[in-house]
Symmetry: C2
Subunit: 436 residues, 2 copies
């Protein structure tokens, strides 16, 4: 038996609970000056020297020496080959997941709309997809086929004609599951390029890599820093922090199930965060016992232990309502309502990336195949942001078509306001449209 | 007669048109190291010393010495007083504008949705407003009441319970129109604080200023730098570049009207950009003549001249279709289709912040009172972003509620995929929900 897990136990009614919670949640991503400088240098090199710089950095950072950019391109035929190479079970699971993700995201698609006012003036909003999206997929251990589906499918559902994927293949190691997922998701082109050089190539384009309009997908600190640096030149998704789960349980779910749900988050990395809230103190004890009993069985037990001991907590609350208040304060990425009547709690939840309701909805189902996206706002950013979705690959244009009558009326109002702001050319431009 | 306006004339079919256009559009916001450092210092001071730091910076930068933060708060009664102090015409114009902006934005409100699968599993999306939004309004000459409406009304339509406004009042100068607009827009609290210290107070909160979830609104380089720095702690809207208009005209609109439409953009500031595309070379000459004739009448003729001479252009195209291609390449903030049949061109437009259709829809009407938002993506960012809207003040949470049968099926798929990613705690968490 290994040494007992040292996981924090808190009570939401203790005097200093607020400061304990703040300390537990505290997270600031390190913006390292040397990383910034190296990323800036890579971006400049790719802007100036295009493919040649990309090929050089790939040799240097990924140990992959090629003659030209042509050797870093995988075409659709290669993606289809990957689909043949994985097992039948894996292929079927990927197909089920892709289909469910597609089906859910189709509900998110927005349509253009317009209405006509009595004057004949038409107002509306035209919705169009991006021309081209770029998807970054990490190499090595964090190379997840599920992430390929979650990022590429919404882009395709939005109607993006071209989705370009970047995935490093250090020393030529290719992840066939990732390529198979790209094939099923409809990715159009794949480059085996990673790091800041991949982001720079997507943002500015090179001889071989087409410039995209938005870059999505997770990555290490170099990728994240590069995305932040090119923001404005292209759109980006959120810069993700460590992944977290908050479980609210009434004490009636099998404690082993809850323990494994907490583990499933903690196994991501040492900074991942798993927190359980329950009004039942005995249940918290039972879950702690399950955690200790099951921990040794886990392949990633060292990572899980570090994560739970440094960032995890079991928290006693007065009631499920108080649990929801604490949850709103945390604004968790993943929220499990493992209770008898989750519908009663749902209206109390103001901020969460995804809400997993009932005892039969562990986060893991949402991570892979329930349908909703697994790219979710982390570190409390669910207060103001949303899961990745079709809306991230569509944009809106306002449409205004004034009738002569409508224009004449509006121009009188615009003229008064423009003169109030001392913008007289605005006023005169409006006044030309006033009927005599 | 003043010296003739030197505005660039280009032809979309000349060999080097692409590089001329790129040079014309080139714009990179300067990220000045000393500005970054001063902003970082201000943010740290406000985080550490709260109100006291805000009061000190307000004295130093705005020449406004007060005893305490209480003297920098304007309550609803003060906003209502402003509504009494402006002229009846101004009040009526503001009311018309606020009502039209509200009415248009109500069409943007999104509702929660859900659906039930045959297995009994429920999937959906819950939409909630932000708890609190912060609105920055510049002081001095760039203090626009119309911007107050355009930023605050969508937040209120989204259902944001509390909208907090920051507006500097250098040496105590208050803009009554701005306060009146805040009153009509439903702003809850106003602080007469500006600059990076206002942004820091909104992002982190002080004893008097409540922490908000998102900060919107334009500002100078200090405000923009501070917004970029606090992004992640809070949400922010786009960092705006200089304002621009692209007019496409078939040659049949009064050249004076088009000239004034171009002026209305150019009068904002020296960096603003006004471009006209027409297949009719004689019409371009006529507009150039109008520009020269009308320029001297403008209050802001110096600003307009600099803007048009450094960033403006009159461009000959082959056809209106080619004009649309050039427009898509520019992805303009404002696009006027001043043509006989704008509906025929609309489907060709892929990227634009707002599209003004027909001869009777000058941009100025949209700036003030047509209804759609005047906060629009600048500098080509309409390729991937949208006008400010209600959707910027709402966020989504995915909802997943698996039935026991649904969970059992999904768990089999999740298990295969999780094991393919070597995430075995994910797999086991799913497998607990498989029926025997």
């Amino acid at each position: 038996m290994s040494k007992p897990l040292q996981i924090a136990r808190l009570d939401a009614n203790q005097a200093d609970f607020g400061s304990h919670l703040d300390a537990l949640l505290a997270w600031e991503s390190v913006s390292d000056k040397s990383v910034n400088e190296r990323v800036e240098e890579i971006i400049q090199a790719v802007r100036q020297r295009g493919d040649a710089a990309v090929v050089e950095y790939t040799a240097r950072f990924d140990g992959l020496s090629v003659d030209s950019m042509d050797d870093l391109i995988l075409d659709r035929a290669r993606l289809e080959l990957a689909l043949e190479r994985i097992t039948a079970d894996q292929r079927q699971a990927l197909e089920v997941a892709a289909e469910r993700v597609r089906s859910y995201h189709e509900k998110q698609r927005q349509d253009s709309w317009r209405y006509t006012e009595p004057s004949g003036t038409v107002l509306g909003q035209q919705i169009t997809p991006l021309d081209r999206a770029g998807l970054y997929v990490p190499g090595g251990k964090a190379s997840y086929p599920s992430s390929v589906l979650m990022n590429a499918v919404p882009a395709k559902v939005a109607g993006v004609p071209e989705v370009v994927m970047m995935v490093p293949t250090p020393r030529g190691e290719i992840n066939e599951l990732v390529l198979a997922a790209a094939c099923l998701a409809g990715v159009d082109r794949v480059f085996t390029v990673g790091g800041a050089q991949a982001v720079a190539a997507l943002a500015y384009g090179t001889e071989s890599v087409p410039r995209v309009d938005k870059i999505v997908g997770p990555g290490n600190i170099y990728v994240a820093t590069a995305k932040r640096a090119v923001f404005g030149q292209v759109g980006i998704d959120m810069i993700a922090g460590p992944s977290e789960i908050l479980v609210v349980c009434d004490g009636q779910t099998d404690p082993d199930w809850i323990a494994m749900d907490l583990f499933s988050q903690a196994e991501h990395d040492e900074d991942a965060q798993s927190i359980l809230l329950s009004p039942d103190a005995a249940f918290l004890d039972a879950v702690e016992a399950s955690l200790n009993r099951l921990l040794g069985e886990l392949e990633r037990s060292d990572i899980v232990r570090t994560s739970l001991e440094t960032r995890g907590a079991l928290i006693k609350v007065d009631s499920l309502e108080q649990a929801c208040e604490v949850s709103n304060r945390i604004a968790p990425e993943h929220l499990e309502l493992s209770v008898a009547d989750p519908e009663a709690l749902l209206p109390l939840i103001r901020h969460a990336g995804a809400i997993f309701m009932g005892r039969f909805t562990p986060e893991a189902l949402g991570d892979y195949c329930a349908g909703p996206n697994h790219v979710l706002p982390t570190s409390g950013t669910a207060r103001f942001s949303s899961p990745l979705g079709v809306y991230d690959f569509q944009k809106r244009s306002s449409v205004i078509f004034c009738s002569p009558d409508g224009a004449s009326d509006l121009a009188r109002t615009a003229s008064v306001l423009a003169r109030g702001e001392s913008l007289t050319a605005h006023a005169r431009s409006a006044e030309y449209r006033i009927k005599n």
